[in-house]
Structure formats: structure tokens, C-alpha cells
């Protein structure tokens, strides 16, 4: 195993892990986006809340999520350590440095952009992930879907209502027909409420700019670090990096708080 330690302690090996974790986080963003698109569904949050339950209970996804937490931590800590090490390689700074003449500012600002994103992730996880998993603020909502018409209605449960599972499903009926009943922890409502706060919305939108700029360089850079640089495919990587990761995804994520703020 000597070679593993040797490799991962070298400057190239460390960058290699940065690239791998970075790309893994990039792939997560796609999943995260697809799931969160359900926030836009006009069903009072049924789909989103059900999805949230799925994401926190499925064992495979749970396992992946540990990998994700690890990746975030590793990417962040290693990134900070690399910034420190790289700073040491130039103890005396230039009086004049015209970086814009030879490189894009995003590539020179990965550390600061990453730090902004890290702060964002902490706030974001505190607000939603932590509250959802461990907090007591998020209440339950019951959804009833008319099996004949497909219409869905919802009703918040009382504040002191609680249940063992995050989701309880059942059937019920009244004069209008049969209903499928779902009582679930209402993350959707938490989202909707939080995003009525202007400062949080502003923070989210700003942070999505940081994500956009971080990935503008980061996505392509990861491929270069892994040695995947080929004139035939560089165009595609660049295209994906710019359109998916620095435009569509951040714009989509930014649209969510804005959607609820203006809703």
C-alpha cells in the first residue's frame, strides 16, 4: 500500500482526488436538480416530500450520501490545504501581477469561490438537511388523492402531531369517492417558508453565482487533472462545463428560492 500513500501524498495525487471528488459532486448536482425540480410541481409538495423520504431512507442512496458527505468534506479540506501549500510556494508576492493577461479569473479564485460554496453548503444543510433529519420544526402534512379524479388536496397536521415513520400511507373514503392518504414530513413547506425571507433568497442566488464560476473552471479542470485532454473531446467537455454546470444548473437552483419568494 506504500504506493497508494506515495501517490496520494504527491501534488499530482492530491489533485487527482480533488478532481474525482469534484466530478462526483458534479454528478450529484444533476441528481439534486432533477429531484428538486419537483418543487415546481403544483401539488402542494406531495411529490417533493415523497421524494425527500425516498432519498433519506433508501439504503443504496444512504450509502451514496455518506460518500457524498465525505467528498464534500474531503474536497473542501484538501482544497484549503492545497491553497495554503500553494501560497507557500511563493512566499514573496509580486508587487504587480497581471493575471488577467494569462488566465481566467475563475481559475485563479477557486479557493475563495469554494469557500463561499462551503459556507453555503453549511447553511443549506443546517436549514434543510439537519432540520429534516434531526430537527423538530418541520411538521407533517396529509395529502389525499381522489382515486377517481386524481385531484389532490392537503391538510397540515397539527403542530404536535408526530409519527414513527417519515411517511405513512393508507386509504380513506368519503362521499366523493376513495382517496389515497399520505401523511408525510412537509419539507416542501419548510422550503416555501424559508424562501419568503429575502436575505436567504439573496444568499442562495449569490451563492449560485459562486457555484457557476467554480464549475466554469472546475468541471473542465477536473478532466485535465485526470489526463483527459484530447482535441476531439475537449469541445464537448467545455460545452458541458459551460452550459450545464455554469449556466443551466446554477440558474435552475437559483430559480427555486426566487420561485417561492415571488409565489
Amino acid at each position: 500500500m506504500n504506493w497508494v500513500i506515495k501517490m496520494f501524498s504527491s501534488s499530482l495525487g492530491q489533485k487527482f482526488i480533488m478532481a474525482l471528488t469534484g466530478l462526483f459532486l458534479c454528478s450529484f448536482l444533476i441528481v439534486h436538480m432533477i429531484g428538486n425540480l419537483q418543487l415546481f410541481k403544483a401539488d402542494d409538495g406531495l411529490a417533493f416530500n415523497t421524494y425527500a423520504v425516498f432519498m433519506t431512507t433508501n439504503p443504496l442512496i444512504k450509502l451514496t450520501s455518506y460518500l457524498l458527505y465525505f467528498s464534500i468534506l474531503f474536497h473542501a479540506v484538501k482544497g484549503i490545504l492545497l491553497v495554503v501549500k500553494n501560497n507557500k510556494a511563493r512566499p514573496v508576492k509580486y508587487a504587480v501581477q497581471n493575471g488577467s493577461a494569462n488566465s481566467h479569473w475563475t481559475s485563479r479564485s477557486m479557493g475563495i469561490l469554494g469557500t463561499i460554496i462551503l459556507v453555503f453548503i453549511i447553511v443549506h444543510m443546517k436549514n434543510f438537511w439537519f432540520e429534516y433529519k434531526f430537527g423538530h420544526e418541520i411538521g407533517y402534512t396529509s395529502y389525499y388523492t381522489n382515486l377517481a379524479t386524481g385531484e389532490t388536496g392537503s391538510k397540515e397536521m397539527s403542530a404536535d402531531y408526530t409519527q414513527f415513520n417519515k411517511i405513512e400511507e393508507g386509504m380513506t373514503a368519503d362521499e366523493k369517492g376513495q382517496y389515497r392518504l399520505v401523511i408525510v414530513k412537509d419539507l416542501y413547506k419548510a422550503v416555501a417558508l424559508q424562501f419568503k425571507e429575502w436575505y436567504l433568497v439573496a444568499l442562495y442566488v449569490l451563492c449560485m453565482f459562486a457555484v457557476a464560476f467554480h464549475l466554469y473552471h472546475g468541471f473542465q479542470s477536473a478532466f485535465q487533472t485526470l489526463g483527459l485532454n484530447h482535441s476531439k473531446y475537449n469541445g464537448l467537455i467545455k460545452f458541458l462545463g459551460i452550459w450545464i454546470y455554469s449556466i443551466l444548473l446554477p440558474a435552475g437552483f437559483a430559480a427555486m428560492p426566487l420561485f417561492f419568494f415571488f409565489k
Binding site: S11, L12, N86, G99, N102
Partner: protein
């Protein structure tokens, strides 16, 4: 057409490695736009000598852009404002009358200042000593045409081998990383059949030496390639990354 310029210079002065160093300001007048940047420094130095001041030490030798000696950081860029030229090939027609020009030495922990604008780049030699060669003793070679090499590979190897070892890549990189320099040599030999037997060992040992010297890590800003007087491409860094990964996973050591 030829013109004459009056310029203000802010030059880093440092007596020796232990001195703290500081900027000094100088004026030079009637500088022909046909002069090279170093010839402008010759004028300044002869001015300083006449005024009984210490002339500015700077590295230079061939003055035709190939030896890699010259190493000035001019107005925030290694080798100054022009693309793909060394300081000695930078001519004064790239400047305007009345300009203030700030000149600093390369800044990097592995390139300590010896005096004024002269830095010690022997770290590069040690990296080459660690593996930047093909181990073939004199007299062992077979006929030069015995192994055909595809022209594209030969051309690409040449493009990598064009590196002059000036250190502008390190000077330009915000991390003072030597990846472009090291990868140019790794890539040159990786592209040639003669380089294959030692391919994995070479990249491992050169990277280890590079790290030992205290260069920063690569963050793919591309500044190195953009400032390289010989236009060495980032593809060589990618090739080295690839080879390094392959070497780490495939090498026989435990």
C-alpha cells in the same frame, strides 16, 4: 518606424539572498523603439556605472530567445506584455513614451533570489537529473532509421522539447507550479519509442523531485502555457497526469 521613448523604471534591487530588497526608481531617456528590452537595461546600467551606482544584475546570454537565461517579470507578466517572446526578444516598440515599467525577479520559493533580478533555477536541473533522460550510454545506439516514428508524434515531441527552461511557467503560475516544465520533458519522451522503457519510472521520479523542490500544485489556470515563450501546450500536463496515474497503479514496487 523608429521612435525614441522616455521611460520610468521601477526595478527590484536586492544585494544578495539575505537582503530584504526593495524597489528603486530610475529614468531612462531616448530609448529607441528598435532596442530590445535588455538593450534598454544595458543603457540603464551604463548610466548607473557612470553615476557610480551599482548596475542591475540580470540573467541573459544568447539574446535570441533560446538559451532561457533571461527572466524578468515585467509589468506583472513574465517576459513582459508580448505573447510568446522572451525578455531578450521583447522590443521597446511594445511600450509607449512616458510608461512606467515595473521589473521584478521570478518569484517562487524554489527560485531564491541571488541578486537583483537574478534567481537560482537549479531546481530545474535537479528535476532533470531525477529522470529527464533516456538511459542510453554513448555508443549503444542502433541505426537512427531503425525505428520509424510517426511524423505527428515526432512533431508533438519536438513541440514539447522546445522548452527553454526559463521558468516563466513557474513565474506566471499563481501557485508557482512547475508542471509545464516537468510535463514538457515527460511528454517528449512519452511520445517517442525510445522513451518507453523508462516511461513510468521517469514520471514518478520527476514528479517526486518536483514536489521535493517545493513547487506548488497545478490548478489548471493555464497561465503557464499562455506565458510560455515557446507556447508549450497544456496537453503535455494532461499527458503527464495520465502517465503518473498509470505509473502509480501499474508500477511493480509495493
Amino acid at each position: 518606424m523608429e521612435k525614441n521613448l522616455n521611460l520610468n523604471l521601477k526595478v527590484w534591487r536586492q544585494k544578495n539572498a539575505d537582503d530584504k530588497g526593495k524597489f528603486e526608481e530610475y529614468k531612462v531617456n531616448d530609448i529607441s523603439t528598435d532596442m530590445s528590452f535588455l538593450e534598454m537595461f544595458d543603457v540603464l546600467n551604463s548610466q548607473l556605472i557612470t553615476e557610480d551606482k551599482d548596475p542591475i544584475a540580470f540573467d541573459h546570454d544568447c539574446r535570441e530567445g533560446i538559451c532561457g537565461s533571461c527572466s524578468m517579470h515585467i509589468n506583472g507578466r513574465p517576459h513582459g506584455p508580448k505573447h510568446a517572446v522572451t525578455t531578450c526578444q521583447l522590443h521597446m516598440r511594445s511600450f509607449n513614451d512616458g510608461d512606467t515599467i515595473v521589473v521584478e525577479p521570478w518569484r517562487a520559493a524554489p527560485f531564491p533570489v541571488i541578486k537583483d533580478l537574478v534567481v537560482n533555477r537549479s531546481a530545474f536541473d535537479r528535476i532533470i537529473s531525477a529522470g529527464g533522460f533516456i538511459s542510453i550510454n554513448t555508443g549503444n545506439a542502433q541505426d537512427a532509421n531503425a525505428i520509424p516514428i510517426p511524423k505527428d508524434d515526432a512533431d508533438e515531441a519536438f513541440a514539447a522539447a522546445a522548452c527553454i527552461g526559463c521558468g516563466a511557467c513557474v513565474a506566471a503560475c499563481k501557485n508557482a507550479s512547475a508542471m509545464l516544465f516537468v510535463s514538457a520533458k515527460v511528454s517528449q519522451f512519452a511520445l517517442l519509442p525510445q522513451g518507453q522503457p523508462e516511461r513510468h519510472q521517469r514520471v514518478s521520479e520527476m514528479v517526486a523531485q518536483m514536489d521535493l523542490e517545493g513547487f506548488g500544485a497545478c490548478t489548471n489556470t493555464g497561465a503557464c502555457s499562455a506565458e510560455c515563450p515557446k507556447g508549450i501546450s497544456l496537453t503535455h500536463i494532461a499527458r503527464m497526469n495520465r502517465d503518473y496515474i498509470a505509473a502509480s497503479f501499474a508500477a511493480n514496487e509495493k
